[in-house]
Point group: C2
Amino acid sequence: MNEATPQRQKKILVVSAHPDPRSLNAALTTFAARHLRAAGHEVRVSDLHAMKWKAVLDADDTLDHPADQRLHVLAAHERATSAGRLASDIAAEQEKVRWSDAVILQFPLWWFAMPAILKGWFDRVFTYGFAHGPAVGPPYSEGALGGRRALVSVTAGARESSFSDRGIHGRLTDVLHPVQHGLFWFTGMTPLEPFAVYGANELPKERFEAAKREYGRRLDGLFTDAPVPFRSLVGGDYDHDMRLLPGVEAEGTAGLELHIHPRG
Amino acid sequence: MNEATPQRQKKILVVSAHPDPRSLNAALTTFAARHLRAAGHEVRVSDLHAMKWKAVLDADDTLDHPADQRLHVLAAHERATSAGRLASDIAAEQEKVRWSDAVILQFPLWWFAMPAILKGWFDRVFTYGFAHGPAVGPPYSEGALGGRRALVSVTAGARESSFSDRGIHGRLTDVLHPVQHGLFWFTGMTPLEPFAVYGANELPKERFEAAKREYGRRLDGLFTDAPVPFRSLVGGDYDHDMRLLPGVEAEGTAGLELHIHPRG
């Protein structure tokens, strides 16, 4: 924090997903909450395992769904969302998201994706009519949850080189594309570059301290760092079938990078 | 099936993940089981919702884990796997995978990924010491589950164009990279191109019939279609830090496509 230009107090939701409160992920969540509060922000933490979060979306999530009728998830979610008839645990999480100016996800990368308990938080909380759908805004850049910053903080057992540009696991940013672009950007949130701790299966104290210092800098920039410059669906780069128009990308661009504006 | 060259009987595990037994996904699972059995194969179905599958990995999964000790997931999984002390629901699913010559996943694409209940099947069943780890084989192409074919069958609400090469959601094959490359190929399985039904929120009868015909052809080729030609970690394409060597790719290749052999 620069005392000459005090940052306005913001509201931050941290969603944390590790089964053990003694884990590295739990320690990073604790660190983030303390660091952000020390900077004057309000912080709420959804510790999914501590909350015994129900991971599995089913007909019980929409209170008025008739048991003898087929569950069309989008339609059932939309009806229950607009009628205020979602299960109370879902409604409580939606209220936290609505309250927030930024959402931080803290999770271990399991099988190159988030743990089931966190995926189930999105499956159940990001309902049609709340996080997407025609009633709340178009997808990609002008969506329902616009005005919020979003940061993934992830731990991975693998070395950083294996997630580098030519690393065998794929670039971390490509592996996380379904989260960064498909969840955050799709719903209108503003994603930052992910923060990652690699080689996390054994983390000596000095590397843990270095990771906290780096994470602290990322948290300091939560509202000021340049976000990932994903292309907007309404910015004139896509045709009516949601395909990128010919020639808008820099030469040699391919794959998921197509959907990012070339950096200046 | 060509009667002149009868296919050898194979064993196929279908893992299906939709909350409603009247859903399109359930119908595709039923279709696949019937079609494969009619061709002479043995089929087992893990219908995760019907099984009330526990999606969330925790310390209860490893029977001898002391409650007062930190849960290091890899280490706990490895000990419990080698000692035969995994929870019985996990052991039962591992037995089905071991039995199988092919694994088919049937799921709706929710937030550009699998539903939580299916992610939790992998988080809990694909333990260190069973699906990966030094005791059972190196990752990528010579892994623990080698000799098995793997097929994703997915339904998506979006149009096919939005998942095309320049589609805003990203190519389906890139969106599914964490599954195709990170789960199947990583553990030694042989992934086929995914089968997808697009525009699945409203599927008139004639499109459903066409989808079944196409899926039937894909099932007929389950053991004969050319797989996705991912590069092998041990094939000489990567350095010791698991980075692709300079110059091995065709000119203009970028992104996740780097990890696929150029087609002949």
